[in-house]
């Protein structure tokens, strides 16, 4: 009897210790981010070319005809074909109100894509900051953006027939450049500095080639499309993009959470990590690959959105500290918050400020927010650089 009581108490203590890392600062960061996502998301669904009142738009978001019908939800998340396979449903889907159709088909998926891209970039940046032990690292430090950018330009300018496969080609270009950077940096092993230098080399060359290709574009439409891809844009994103990014996001985020302890040990420096029995080279490559996977998933649906992967881990680290378990969880919430909010700016800046119609690439907004934030950090913090 007495033993049962103790083991019960011990188990309870164990349970509470398991969740002890979720403290007030992390919780408030997550809840605050969530509130921002919801608020910015509601703004996003309220505006568009089809005129409806704000109240109507918000009511459509919580329309039970969609929310309580798994066929509609699966139709969005998996696509119609897979939905029919999974549910075995062959008839016509029930009719939805026009407002609901517009909000769910056109306006909401853009918010979801922004969330996925935001978390991918934030977590990817956090990983690369640990791998290179440098706070100024971003998901694109190992050449991912330049590789993706070059292939985007090549596809649009030289091989326009492949344009439908552009998302995949861009992601593949990013991964290819990462592998190239690793090959260049490898000399019986790598080090953070060698990797960053190799990233700079590959980035410089690819960037030049990419810029050179602009001269061969004979159509302003191609140039605009290329710029939208290389600065990152969520214009016209759809459930298709959600379906493209979601599986990779789940895999990458899961691996990042599982790898958080390895990232923590890597932060102690190569020598200590190695004397603790970590195979540093293998672990560094594996974690980088997870970061590249996350970055590639976001490139495939939104192009190269800059600054998110640099700023978000910073903000989160300032709030929750350098423990990667908390940092990764914080990034999962804060990344979407920044990107959904920035996308509101990207979508509404031109109509609101200049009264015209048109949208900015979201990457321009994140850059405009990111620059001043770094200025602020530089002024406030004594040391910026090493974690």
């Amino acid at each position: 009897m007495a033993e049962d009581v103790t083991s019960g108490a011990e188990r309870e203590a164990g349970e509470s210790a398991r969740f002890a890392w979720i403290d007030g600062s992390l919780l408030s960061l997550c809840l605050g981010s969530l509130a921002l996502v919801v608020a910015a998301g509601l703004v996003q669904v309220s505006f568009g070319s089809y005129s409806m009142s704000v109240g109507e738009a918000w009511r459509s978001v919580v329309d039970t005809a969609v929310l309580l019908d798994e066929r509609w939800l699966l139709n969005f998340l998996l696509g119609e074909e897979l939905m029919r396979t999974v549910t075995g449903f062959q008839g016509e889907l029930p009719e939805l109100a026009t407002e609901t159709l517009i909000v769910w088909n056109i306006r909401l998926p853009r918010v979801f894509v922004a969330m996925l891209v935001g978390m991918n970039l934030a977590v990817s940046g956090a990983i690369f900051q640990a791998v290179t032990r440098n706070e100024l690292a971003s998901p694109f430090i190992l050449g991912v953006s330049s590789g993706a950018g070059l292939l985007i330009l090549l596809t649009l300018v030289v091989f326009p027939v492949l344009a439908t496969a552009l998302p995949l080609i861009a992601a593949a270009g990013g991964m290819g450049a990462f592998v190239l950077v690793y090959l260049i940096a490898w000399k019986g092993g790598t080090s953070p500095v060698r990797l960053v230098l190799a990233g700079v080399i590959v980035g410089t060359v690819f960037q030049s080639l990419q810029t050179g290709l602009f001269f061969f574009a004979d159509d302003i439409g191609v140039v605009q499309s290329a710029i939208a891809w290389t600065t990152g844009s969520l214009t016209g994103t759809d459930w298709e993009q959600v379906r493209t990014a979601l599986p990779w996001t789940i895999v990458a985020m899961g691996l990042a959470l599982v790898g958080a302890r390895q990232l923590n040990v890597l932060l102690l420096g190569e020598r200590t990590a190695s004397s603790l029995g970590m195979n540093v080279e293998r672990m560094r490559f594996a974690l980088s690959a997870v970061g590249v996977l996350a970055a590639a998933a976001s490139i495939a649906v939104a192009g190269i959105v800059g600054f998110v992967g640099l700023i978000v881990p910073h903000v989160v680290r300032n709030v929750v500290g350098s423990d990667y378990k908390r940092l990764v969880v914080g990034c999962l919430f804060a990344g979407p918050a920044l990107l959904v909010a920035a996308d509101v700016g990207a979508r509404l800046a031109i109509p609101v400020l200049m009264g015209g119609s048109g949208q900015l690439p979201v990457g321009i907004v994140t850059g405009l927010v990111g620059g001043p934030y770094f200025l602020y950090l530089m002024r406030k913090q004594e040391q910026l650089g090493e974690i």
Binding site: V258, L268, S275, L276, G277, M278, G321
Partner: protein, 311 residues
Amino acid sequence: MSQSDTTPIGTHRDDDHTDCDETPDAQTALSAPAVAASEPVGTPFDAEDLVVGYPTSEEAVVDGESLVAAPGQVTALVGPNGSGKSTLLKAMADQLAPEAGTVRLDGADVTEMDSKDLARRLGLLSQENVAPDSITVEKLVEHGRYPHRGFFDGLTEGDLDAIDRAIDLAGVDHLRERDVGSLSGGQKQLVWIAMILAQETDVLLLDEPTTFLDMHHQLEVMEIVETLRDESDKTVVVVLHDLQQAARLADHVVALKDGAVQSRGQPEDVVSEEMLADVFGIEATVTQSDIGPQITPLRPLHDDAGADRHR
């Protein structure tokens, strides 16, 4: 065949001569009869004919040296700057691949061992350590359990106990909840030692654990090593800059110069005026006292040996 897996060996009682060609086997043969029945048991750990260099330079830093750590005891490596002490230690911890020779832990070649298996048996405290400022002391010590945990494992009761013991032994219980960034250099060093202790290894290699510390923390570190010497079976190899400390702390002292062992044996035999002139290039007087030999350095010697020192 390692001598160490066949013979229970204790302290090696070499003369202070500079013969480096001696193989460990020959040493064992010499010292075996002197082993007392009450010698502490510990894990045999030795290096044989080790040649170690860095890829950037052609010349080997440690050239064909052999070193037998006294099992269950403290062996101190001493020598001037650039004599190869730290290099030798890194090679023995499998952090540098030797160009030739073998390092054996309990008879097994360390380069053949799985890195986590090795880290469960051998701990290394590097000379300089870095940690994020916002990590707490307890979290940092927790990382010492890394080799004992699988990829998905949480902390077990055993891990928590080991962390408590390590924090206790290093005397940093009062710092437990503090951020590492807020600690003094001396406190940080004690915390790092706690992390290595949490690894609970049979063999412990410490690279200049007292350098750059104030006197209080130097003595704190020495007290920890003394406790390990007296109350555990751990085989400890420690690189020390301070000969006095080495003499006081170690059961066995090995003096290195230019990557070669110049002299090895018990502290009172090794620490002599001749050795100080030969190895360190200084003129000094040595007097024996209760706490080991006392060294009074007088002046640098400006002959060949002295010039060598600044290599």
